[in-house]
């Protein structure tokens, strides 16, 4: 369940509407032609959490299949690693080890 929320970028309390909106935003960004793997992940996350019934079932019922915990948790770790941080040019230049924008040479 957690992985679906991470992939869609919603909280566990999110409503059906919020989840749908986030899903549409994500699939617009990751179309099946451009990014098929990501598209599949988003669609799977949406299908598993689109209704309150599904969300409650996965939260309160045991999983349908036996889960491979290491694979499941690594998938979670990968999902969170995928979050990109907004950064400016100056910060990138600093991170690259170049001299800051002093405008002067020697």
């Amino acid at each position: 369940m957690l992985i679906h929320y991470i992939v869609l970028g919603v909280t566990p309390e999110a409503s059906d509407e919020v989840i749908r909106t986030r899903y549409l935003e994500q699939v617009k960004r990751h179309t099946p032609e451009k990014d098929p793997v990501r598209f599949q992940e988003i669609t799977a996350a949406y299908e598993a959490s689109k209704t309150i019934r599904k969300r409650l079932a996965s939260r309160y019922l045991p999983p349908e299949k036996t889960i491979d915990v290491e694979a499941a948790l690594f998938a979670l770790a990968r999902a969170v690693s995928g979050k990109r941080r907004r950064v400016g040019l100056r910060e990138l230049i600093r991170e690259s080890g170049h001299k800051a924008a002093s405008g002067t040479g020697v």
């Binding site: 990014d35 045991p62 036996t66 969170v80 990109r84 040019l89 230049i93 690259s96 040479g105």
Partner: protein
């Protein structure tokens, strides 16, 4: 490290000494060589010596200038900025005049000089050299890096650097703010040939990075020139979003915190969790789980913690976590209520008593889910889950009465209920009450056995509720119709089918059922002797053009013809079946033979033989593939149950052509048997397996042998569990995996201990499945010690058995002298025993198995024999299939089942 420096210093000293001994020309050559190899310090040494020996020359100064620039670059890359600046000063001191410089010299200078200095040199250089696109680009990079645009005024207005500077300057400002999207819009006006074009490409790459359009991002990154100043950032982007595994952190060492959220490394944290769990380091595990949860889901770390713990709990079998450790971690990380919730959820999955598990889970929901509607939904789901588990696993619960008494209010089970089927039904009904919109509950409901009147009524009321809740869905109407047919309430069934037709007039399921209802009506009239009413019904049924029911209609029409004119049996088939394909024809013929055998007069055995001959002839003419065999031998759909209680035609077809299975290739045999698995044809399957497994290599023979052993166990022909162990011992690792998969598949067809053993691929439980010799300990499903209270009193039990033994010799007389009421009472008693043993609906082989074990206890054997003797005088059609098997004094005839 110190040693290394010392070594380097010594090596440098050696080179210096050697250089001093060689002439100036050689020093220059050596300097050039060092320069080419990137050895700036040695190059400087060599060239300085050459200068000393040879005197000042422009060529040496030029080389020295390059060596200083190289050294400056090296020092900067090491972060030794003051040292680099000093070296740069020395380089400037050595700088030749612009006309003596080449492009690389200028680029080396521009790299770290101020824009003003760079432009000054560039202008001087341009006077004596042709324009250089590369140099323009480097100056554009410098402008971007320094954000210092004023010196550009020194250039002519038409110069590309000055001409495109306005949008570039605005874009750089936006990029500095992280607004890459707007910056890209601004840069759109810049032509491809502009020196600022690589900056636009980089900006576009960043936009794609935030759009998470990694495929296009990789393409754009590959188009950015290698000498772009942010090349390390580009490389990092390429590695982290490209083909490399995202979990490989070495791919983005410098930009981890810059481009990706979360300063920590979740993969490493996870590895730490698993490691500390394996080492049983509880405190560390608690710390790592907590940090991991915060990193994963900062919006709700508690939720993430619970989810991680649940994942660990549900897979604790696969990773080495000691349960006590898990409990300690659970209590450390979650509140008491949450811990109980996690444990209750785990219990629901793993507990052997689902009723007790839901008894501990449901009360927790009140605090957990304040919204009543949601709470009811979850409660309904939990009850459904438990019902499904009880139904599929046929859980053994020795004290079911106590449990049902304890949880009756909570679960909706009738208090003191002792029948597990009834308990499951009650759970599903309660689940529907709480959550009437859960379709899965209705699916399970119609699958449950409904032998008693109470069960039928409960199911009927639930389906009526569903009909009201889903007013456009024909499904509840169709299922109600099936139920009404079972209850012989034909009018009600037709009425409800008419409603289904109103709801979905073009639905194939509705058409099939309506056609079937007419066939049912035709069958009823045929057996009542009202032959004139049969054909109109069958013609109407044909009008629905239902593909599914067509063979049945054709067969019933043929049966009607046969009853009217049995002498024409051979021609009847030709007359009625040509419209169908050959497979459907054979299936219909098989049905016709079965119906004809059961019909009685006027159909005589000679007529049946004619039909059988025809059937054999037609079957011999067929050339079949594996798929055809599957179609041919598959049972009829369950909707046909009112007209075909057994729903199977495979047995008669295999009797008439026993080589049917022989057509199937070795590789397809087991999957085909798995698909066709039916109690009535297990003997044929066993024969085929027995034949084939010989002279086969291990890969083919072992799965066949495993299948065969399971069949023998199911049919009660061998309980030798050693055979399983022998087969597994013969298998290598890949074969063991294959056998395990097969075992899990076969478990779907088994029940009780065999099912559980096949599911877990562990057959030790079968070694002593009936460990207790006394009757009260009989481990039949749902067998309750309380059920045999009477037997607990040894005197009473002895009395009953003695009485039965005493009447045995006079049984014939008693049986003949029994009136109808006494016979009915006897039938009821036998059926009650069937219910007590909970064998109703079990596969035939399993009932035989249970019967054999009961008979192994001498007093029970006598009792059964007594009842069997008495039942000889009752009409056997009054008895259920299970009762007949239970009372049979002999094993099934070889002919019928064709066992080994």
């Amino acid at each position: 490290m110190g040693k290394k420096n010392k070594k380097g210093h010594k090596g440098h000293k050696d080179i210096h000494q050697k250089l001093q001994q060689i002439p100036a020309e050689q020093c220059i050559e050596q300097g050039k060589a060092f320069l080419e190899n990137g050895k700036a310090r040695d190059a400087i040494d060599a060239l300085k010596l050459a200068e000393k020996k040879n005197g000042d020359s422009s060529s040496i100064r030029q080389l020295l200038y390059r060596a200083y620039l190289l050294r400056e670059e090296q020092l900067r890359s090491k972060g030794l900025i003051p040292e680099a600046d000093t070296v740069k000063k020395m380089a400037i001191g050595m700088m030749p005049t612009a006309d003596q410089l080449n492009e690389a010299d200028v680029l080396g200078y521009v790299l770290h000089a101020s824009v003003e200095e760079s432009l000054k040199l560039y202008i001087d250089f341009s006077k004596s050299h042709s324009p250089s696109v590369r140099m323009d680009q480097h100056l554009a990079y410098r402008l971007m890096m320094t954000d210092d645009w004023e010196p550009l005024d020194a250039l002519e207005l038409s110069h590309p650097l000055r001409r495109d500077s306005s949008p570039a300057k605005k874009a750089v400002s936006l990029m500095n703010q992280g607004n890459w999207e707007d910056a890209l819009q601004v840069l759109k006006v810049i032509p491809r040939v502009s020196p600022y074009a690589p900056i636009r490409l980089f900006c576009r790459a960043m936009v794609l990075f935030y759009q998470e359009n990694d495929c296009e991002l990789i393409q754009i990154l590959s188009r950015i020139p290698d000498d772009f100043p942010l090349s390390r950032c580009i490389e990092s982007l390429k590695q982290s979003v490209g083909g490399k595994d995202a979990s490989d952190n070495s791919s983005r060492p410098h930009f981890q915190s810059c481009l990706w959220e979360g300063t920590s490394n979740p993969e490493k944290m996870l590895a730490d969790i698993l490691n500390s769990l394996k080492k049983r380091q509880i405190k560390q595990a608690v710390f790592h789980i907590s940090s991991f949860a915060k990193t994963l889901f900062p919006q709700s770390p508690d939720f993430a913690t619970q989810q991680i713990l649940e994942a660990l709990m549900f897979s604790s079998l696969h990773i080495d976590i000691v349960f006590e450790d898990f409990l300690r971690i659970l209590k450390s990380l979650l509140s008491e209520h949450r811990s109980m919730l996690v444990m209750a959820k785990g219990n629901l999955e793993s507990s052997t008593s689902s009723l007790e598990a839901i008894g501990s889970y449901l009360p927790l929901l009140e605090e957990e889910i304040p919204d009543l509607e949601c709470r009811n939904m979850v409660s309904g789901m939990i009850l459904m889950f438990a019902a499904q588990k009880l139904h599929s696993e046929k859980q053994v619960n020795r004290s079911i009465k106590n449990v049902t008494r304890q949880f009756s209010k909570l679960t909706g089970i009738s208090e003191g209920d002792s029948d597990m089927d009834q308990v499951v039904l009650d759970l599903v009904i309660q689940s529907i009450k709480l959550d009437p919109l859960n379709r899965k509950s209705y699916d399970l409901l119609i699958d449950l056995p409904r032998n008693s009147r109470d069960a039928k009524e409960s199911i009927e009321s639930a389906l009526l509720k569903m009909s009201a809740v889903f007013p456009d869905d024909p499904f509840p109407c169709l299922e109600l119709a099936a139920l009404y047919y079972e209850k012989n309430a034909f009018r009600k069934a037709e009425r409800v089918l008419a409603e289904a037709a109103e709801r979905a007039p073009h639905d194939n399921r509705v058409m099939d059922r309506r056609a079937l209802s007419l066939v049912i009506s035709a069958c009823k009239n045929l057996h009542r002797g009202k032959h004139h009413l049969v054909l109109p019904d069958l013609e109407k049924a044909e009008g629905f053009n239902s593909k599914k029911v067509t063979p049945l209609i054709a067969e019933k029409t043929a049966l009607l013809d046969l009853v009217a004119n049995p002498e024409q049996a051979d021609k009847i088939i030709l007359k009625n079946f040509p419209a169908m394909n050959s497979i459907d024809q054979i299936r219909a013929m098989g049905l016709l033979v079965q119906d004809a055998q059961a019909y009685g007069k006027p159909i005589a055995s000679k007529h049946i033989k004619m039909l059988e001959k025809r059937l054999i002839r037609e079957m011999k003419q067929l050339s079949l593939t594996t798929t055809d065999i599957i179609t041919l031998l598959s049972p009829f759909p369950k909707e046909f149950k009112p007209v075909l209680p057994q729903r199977i035609v495979a047995h008669i077809l295999l009797c008439k052509r026993s080589d049917l299975f022989g057509i199937i290739p070795d590789a397809d045999l087991i999957p085909t048997f798995d698909l066709l698995f039916h109690q009535d044809i297990l003997g044929f399957m066993a024969n085929e397996l027995q034949k084939r497994r010989r002279n086969k290599n291990k890969t083919l023979a072992l799965p066949m042998l495993f299948f065969l052993i399971t069949l023998r166990y199911m049919t009660g022909h061998s309980y030798c569990t050693e055979r399983y162990k022998d087969v597994i011992a013969m298998a290598d690792d890949p074969m063991k995996k294959e056998l395990e998969t097969l075992s899990k598949k076969l478990s779907r067809h088994a029940s009780g201990y065999l099912k559980s053993s096949l599911e877990h691929f562990n057959f030790s439980a079968l070694e002593d499945p009936f460990p207790m010799a006394d009757f009260s300990g009989f481990p039949f499903p749902d067998f309750d010690e309380d059920d045999f209270d009477e037997m607990d009193d040894p005197d009473k039990a002895d009395n009953v058995l003695d009485m039965l033994n005493d009447v045995m010799p006079f049984m014939d007389v008693i049986g003949q002298g029994m009136d109808k009421e006494e016979i009915l009472e006897l039938v009821k008693q036998v059926e009650d025993l069937v219910d007590e043993l909970d064998i109703r609906g079990l596969p035939e082989g399993e009932i035989w198995e249970i019967r054999n074990h009961i008979r192994s206890i001498p007093p029970m054997r006598k009792m059964l024999e007594s009842m069997g003797e008495m039942m000889k005088y009752a009409d056997s059609s009054d008895l259920s299939r299970e009762a007949k098997i239970l009372l049979s004094l002999n094993k099934p005839k070889k002919k019928k089942f064709r066992f080994f």
